[in-house]
């Protein structure tokens, strides 16, 4: 894998690198396995497997029961129904609950033990809805260029009409697709190949030795390691998939604390900055803004205060107003690609306020994540010198109660 030089990476900020679009092999000639980790499956899992089997005649499916408890009554029946759909569906069960990353690794080692080496591995959530061409588009996109280690589908929301929270997430996910398209060929590509539906080249998965288990955000973590290993990633823009998003504020909070805190962990642990460059820019801008404002207000009423050149004030207002206006107009224009939209979505977008409140509320989650990581690092440092086990445990459990933890411990906790 040819690694990119720093000048070519920097050039990609405004001139994204191009990839081939025509696959060298046809989808039918490629050995593709889909791995679907499942815990307490629902009817939607059966529908997913039916669609995968019906629309992809050469696809083999490994359904991984991640130790669904027997007390969950529909489980056994749904798994039985899934395996009865086709001989191409194999059900395996993990010896203990290993969460998503562990279940995928278990399936990968199952393939290895049985001397099966696919060309491409798809990883899917068990509550995803796909279209007829979703898988074939992803495989074509992945195999078109040897530099690519993974491609992900578009992410859309199928329960977006449920309430205001789901509608806001529907609009947010639309923005994710726009950002992923903009990030194609920018450094090593989009920040995250999402866990909802991603296709991995097997050589790439082997090179990074599979997923890191118990990580809060294993999809971002493995994307960063793929980039570190020299691979690029991109959005397969013609591959459509829908997922279910949290419908209550509590569930949304739990999801976002996990995402954002996990994201900070990935940036903190990454040894290759181009893999997480978007987040480095984002965090630097955000922290700098907060610090500068804090200093500004502090110094205004203290030493160093005096007349400000009017040009500076005008420049600040110009940049902020124009930036907001450009971004808002782009958001309005991009609504044309939101095929699921209805009048309510238009009202939310045009009125600006709900999305503004939503985006800035998530900033609170980010501030909490900073506080958690700083506290954890500080207590970790102190614990090496003095005995503070009780205080450390008590503090971390307090953070855990509001959603911040270092590991994804149980299925039910997040």
């Amino acid at each position: 894998m040819k690694s990119q030089t720093t000048p070519s990476l920097l050039k990609s900020i405004i001139s994204p690198r191009r990839f081939n679009d025509r696959p060298k092999k046809s989808f039918e000639k490629v050995r593709v396995f889909a791995i679907i980790p499942s815990f307490k499956p629902r009817a939607i899992t059966t529908q997913l497997i039916e669609d995968l089997v019906r629309w992809n005649p050469s696809l083999t499916i490994i359904l991984v029961d991640d130790c669904t408890p027997s007390s969950y009554l529909p489980g056994a029946e749904i798994f039985k129904k899934c395996t009865s759909i086709s001989e191409r569906v194999t059900l395996i069960r993990t010896p203990e609950n290993t969460l998503k990353a562990g279940a995928i690794n278990y399936a990968l080692s199952y393939l290895q033990k049985n001397n099966i080496r696919p060309d491409v591995v798809l990883t899917l959530d068990d509550d995803v809805v796909i279209e007829r061409n979703t898988v074939s588009e992803m495989i074509s996109s992945l195999l078109a260029d040897e530099r690519l280690g993974a491609v992900c589908s578009q992410s859309r929301v199928f329960n977006k009409n449920k309430n205001l929270i789901t509608r806001l997430q529907g609009l947010e996910y639309l923005g994710f697709n726009a950002t992923r398209l903009a990030d194609e060929g920018f450094f090593h590509g989009p920040l995250v190949m999402h866990g909802m539906l991603t296709a991995f080249r097997i050589s790439a998965l082997e090179k990074v030795r599979g997923f890191t288990e118990h990580h809060l955000i294993e999809d971002y973590e493995i994307t960063a390691r793929l980039k570190e290993a020299g691979f690029d990633v991109r959005l397969a823009s013609a591959a459509y998939a829908w997922t279910e998003v949290p419908e209550s504020l509590i569930d949304l909070w739990k999801q976002r604390t996990r995402w954002i805190s996990g994201g900070v962990s990935v940036v903190k642990d990454s040894k290759y900055w181009p893999a997480v460059v978007q987040d480095i820019i984002g965090h630097t801008l955000f922290i700098s803004t907060i610090l500068v404002l804090f200093a500004f207000f502090l110094l205004t009423f203290d030493f160093g205060a005096g007349p400000i050149p009017p040009l500076l004030a005008y420049a600040i207002l110009f940049f902020s107003v124009v930036q907001t206006l450009i971004w808002f107009l782009f958001q309005l224009w991009f609504m044309r690609f939101y095929d699921e939209r209805d009048a309510w979505d238009w009202i939310i977008r045009i009125s600006f306020i709900p999305e503004f409140i939503y985006a800035n509320s998530l900033t609170v989650v980010l501030l909490g994540a900073y506080l958690f990581h700083i506290t954890d690092s500080l207590l970790g440092f102190l614990a090496r010198h003095i005995r503070i086990f009780t205080i450390r445990g008590w503090t971390l459990s307090l953070f855990s109660r509001v959603g911040y933890s270092k590991q994804w411990n149980t299925r039910d906790s997040h």
Binding site: S237, T289, T300, I308, A313, I316, I326, D339
Partner: protein
């Protein structure tokens, strides 16, 4: 949100509201010039990142933009 923030767009809303506040205070013509200049530079960087993202988007959009629409979505759950 962080994904967007990394490209300047997500931070735009927050930066803007803070800048509106900051700008108003600056108009009152009393403050620390050095900090105000630094603040202005930050917003200019954020502005440039948003612009760079939109340029990249338009370049990639020329190649894949038509694929963003899902023609069959009406047959699924939204308009059954």
């Amino acid at each position: 949100m962080l994904v967007l923030a990394g490209n300047g767009g997500g931070t735009a809303s927050l930066v803007s509201v803070l800048a509106f506040g900051g700008g108003s205070i600056l108009f009152s013509a009393h403050g620390n010039t050095f900090i105000a200049a630094f603040f202005c530079a930050l917003i200019a960087v954020s502005f440039s990142l948003t612009a760079a993202m939109l340029i990249r988007f338009s370049i990639n959009f020329k190649r894949h933009g038509h694929e963003l629409r899902c023609p069959r979505v009406h047959n699924r759950f939204f308009h059954p």
